[in-house]
């Protein structure tokens, strides 16, 4: 009714149609049924030796079910054989996967599909078809210091050969293809390479997060063909810029979903654990942080849906909103993760409890595409430059 509602190009309901809401419900039920927390614990926390942090812990059968449901191709446009769903639909799917702390390259593949879509070349569309066929992708672009800038890659493409290394590559042991960012004559160029290519070595990092794997990719004169180059000449940075809001909202979704698990699990404990003859939740030192966590989650979620909606309806503001969303999600996760462990008391400090799995996943997610302060720096730059 008000003027402000008419000024925005976004639908008031974020564009949540019946398809998007149905996907949320189906995903929620799927993960409740197929990856309850005790199963997750058995899957990823069997081994408490941190030296084995390079292990790849996942359930390939469960992953195949995710693939069979078509969830890898929800963001692939229809022209490339995908489902072309709205960004809010993709967001709620990733949110439910995050709530289950799904070990598997869902967010990396969805992220790659947005980048490939933004490339808009025949070669990129061919790569999108690979996703529709059930292949998982991970985008690799960072340097040794872990920069999230799109021109940070130190991988070199010369005479159609890739040489050098890419760092902090997500779920590298689980994917079928990498979408790599390489410099050709100093110009960022996007190339699709099969994970099992000769001369490409996946060197796993030893990480804290039990639900992911991460690696360095070492390329030693890896030969590629022209058809593997998916970005148009000189257009890689533009494509990456266009996909940036989606990259941010996807990891935000994961964080928001995981945070809701942390909230509900900790509230359940506060409802049942007795000390001083009272359930913990009676005490305001426990109750109030949980209320604050809930408010922080709902603020982050609403920012997330706004960012996702803007991808489809207001792309010129999408990066700004996505930076806001990641800032809010990271702050919620950082506060809530700490409380989820702390409010569990002694049991929260053990390997046996479930909360550390989510704490570790959140710590990892918070770094991806930059922490909260980084988002606010980017946001300030966007706003100041826009005036």
């Amino acid at each position: 009714m008000s003027e402000s509602d008419q000024a925005t190009q976004q639908p008031k309901d974020f564009g949540f149609d019946t398809d998007a809401l149905a996907l949320k419900d189906v995903a929620e039920k799927f993960f409740q049924d197929n990856l309850p927390t005790h199963k997750l614990h058995g899957l990823v926390a069997e081994d408490s030796d941190l030296r084995n942090g390079s292990a790849c812990r996942w359930d390939k059968d469960l992953w195949q079910q995710v693939v069979d449901l078509g969830w890898l191709m929800v963001a692939v446009p229809e022209r490339a054989g995908g489902m072309g769903m709205s960004a809010v639909a993709v967001a709620v799917l990733a949110e439910q996967a995050g709530r289950a702390a799904l070990p598997g390259p869902l967010v990396p593949t969805l992220s790659a599909s947005y980048i490939l879509d933004a490339c808009g070349t025949d070669n990129a569309d061919a790569a999108l078809s690979l996703i529709c066929e059930g292949n998982a992708f991970s985008y690799a672009a960072s340097n040794q210091s872990g920069s999230w800038e799109h021109d940070a890659s130190e991988l070199v493409l010369e005479d159609n050969k890739l040489t050098g290394a890419l760092h902090f590559v997500q779920d590298a042991q689980k994917v079928d293809y990498f979408l790599v960012n390489a410099k050709r004559d100093g110009e960022p160029t996007l190339v699709v390479v099969p994970a099992n290519l000769d001369g490409l070595t996946v060197v796993p990092n030893t990480i804290i997060d039990l639900t992911r794997d991460q690696a360095r990719l070492q390329f030693d004169q890896v030969a590629i063909e022209d058809k593997q180059i998916v970005s148009a000449p000189g257009q890689a940075l533009n494509a990456l810029q266009d996909a940036t809001p989606a990259l941010l909202t996807l990891i935000c979704s994961d964080i928001c979903g995981a945070a809701e698990w942390q909230l509900q699990t900790t509230a359940e404990y506060a409802r049942t654990r007795k000390q001083f003859d009272r359930n913990l939740g009676f005490f305001q030192a426990v109750k109030h942080p949980l209320a604050d966590f809930m408010v922080a989650i709902d603020l982050a979620r609403s920012q997330l849906y706004n960012a996702a909606c803007s991808i489809d309806y207001e792309p010129e503001l999408a990066e700004q909103y996505a930076r806001m969303a990641k800032s809010a999600a990271n702050d919620a996760a950082s506060f809530g993760s700490k409380k989820s462990v702390q409010l569990h008391g002694g049991i929260g400090f053990t390997w046996e409890s479930f909360v550390h799995i989510y704490l570790k996943r959140q710590l990892h997610s918070q770094t991806l595409w930059g922490d909260a302060a980084y988002q606010r720096q980017k946001l300030a730059a966007l706003i100041l430059q826009g005036n």
Partner: protein, 412 residues
């Protein structure tokens, strides 16, 4: 067509057109003084005259009390008050002085009062001829409202009331008060009874009304002393001992969570602005204008981070409200209960960041000509505590969230 109009029933559609037609030629010219933003700010006779005339006009036109039955002075319509409210806001009408009567007393009397009381009190309440105030809080009963000590003692078919109420907006103008009193000392919750009591006719006799001065130096509410105030048993709402349940009806409507939509009017004097760009965000503008270490404060990375954090929160609050319009996405009650906490703590924290940006200039009050932004930030910071304390402190809001949404044990 507006979003609201699209969902109108035939009755609402017709009524909306009627409201528009009437408002097109009946919104009064702005007053000589600075327009008030809520009925609680009513301070002078001049205010009273101007705003009472507006409420009466809107009432006579059928825009106030639309959903109340005709026999109680209402319009006898169905879900039309929200339509009138939307149209009054759209037309940027003045506020109505009877906010406490309209928003809190009327629904309480409607749901708990006798037939005679409803016929006697509601018409003049709706028209604004009689103003109301709320006598709940006491010096010893704030967040713990059920501990009120103001005592009503039964004497035949009368009650004799003694006690002390505080934080009462518009008591100096009120004809009536809704009053929560103790009628039984041994039972905290079941020892309370709810009355409507005359104030104006008893002034200088058994009722004293005195202004309280706020943290900002402004007056704005009052305290009342009751010294053997006698009221007829007919002015009791619901049964003796049921005061707490009746008070819950009042408080639910205060939060906007009751079944009846309160008549609201407003928007006068508020600049009609399109969605302003983020570059217009007040803290951002302030941080560009103020200097820190010889450079615009916004170039200081710590200040910049704080301004961006507040901006993220402000946008988040807007989106949070928007999320409430989507069915099937999130628990609506969970979101609704966060509103007050979100808004009031944001106001407070934003004002605190503004003071930090201003530095030494933040010491200047709104009466100092050198003060940046006309000295609004120190005043905003001081006033913000009204938000975080009144109508359920932030601490009580967190209790409510923990208990009603997360199912945690009551802290009491």
């Amino acid at each position: 067509m507006s979003e609201n109009a699209k969902r109108d029933t035939p009755e609402q559609q017709e009524f909306r057109q009627y409201c528009r037609d009437w408002l097109a030629s009946n919104v009064p010219p702005p007053p000589d003084f600075k327009p008030l933003r809520s009925g609680a700010e009513l301070a002078t006779e001049e205010h009273l005259t101007y705003y009472s005339a507006w409420q009466k006009a809107a009432y006579d036109a059928g825009l106030v009390g639309c959903d109340y039955p005709v026999e109680y002075g209402g319009g006898g319509r169905t879900r039309c008050q929200s339509v009138a409210n939307q149209e009054m806001l759209r037309a940027r009408t003045p506020i109505m002085p009877g906010a406490i009567g309209l928003g809190m007393a009327a629904p309480t009397i409607y749901f708990h009062g006798s037939e005679d009381l409803k016929r006697q009190l509601l018409p003049k309440l709706l028209s604004g001829e009689e103003l109301w105030c709320q006598g709940f809080s006491e010096p010893g009963a704030g967040s713990d409202l059920a501990s009120v000590q103001t005592f009503a003692e039964r004497k035949g078919d009368k009650w004799v009331i003694n006690g002390h109420k505080v934080w009462t907006s518009t008591a100096q103008f009120a004809t009536w008060m809704i009053l929560l009193a103790r009628t039984e000392k041994s039972d905290k919750y079941n020892g309370l009874t709810y009355f409507v009591v005359p104030i104006k006719s008893e002034l200088g006799k058994s009722v004293t009304v005195r202004p309280l001065i706020k943290i900002t130096g402004e007056t704005g509410f009052n305290e009342e002393l009751f010294d053997d105030l006698e009221v007829d048993d007919a002015y009791r709402l619901d049964e003796v001992g049921k005061g707490w349940q009746v008070a819950m009806t009042t408080l639910a409507h205060e939060r906007g969570a009751g079944p009846l939509t309160a008549p609201t009017s407003g928007g006068q004097g508020i600049e009609v602005k399109r969605e302003t760009g983020i570059g217009e965000y007040p803290l951002l503008k302030l941080a560009r204008k103020c200097t820190r270490n010889g450079k615009p404060a916004i170039e200081d990375p710590v200040i910049s981070d704080k301004v961006m954090s507040m901006l993220v929160r402000q946008v988040g609050i807007k989106q949070h409200r928007r999320m409430r319009s989507v069915g099937g996405l999130a628990d609506q009650q969970r979101l609704a209960l966060q509103d007050k906490l979100l808004a009031t703590e944001y106001q407070q924290d934003a004002a605190a960041v503004a003071l930090e940006i201003e530095g030494p200039a933040g010491t200047l009050s709104n009466f100092d000509e050198q003060a940046p932004d006309q000295g609004k930030w120190p005043l905003a910071y001081l006033s913000s505590f009204g938000g975080t304390i009144a109508a359920g402190t932030s601490e009580i809001q967190r209790n409510i969230l923990g208990e009603r949404v997360l199912g945690l044990d009551k802290s009491k």
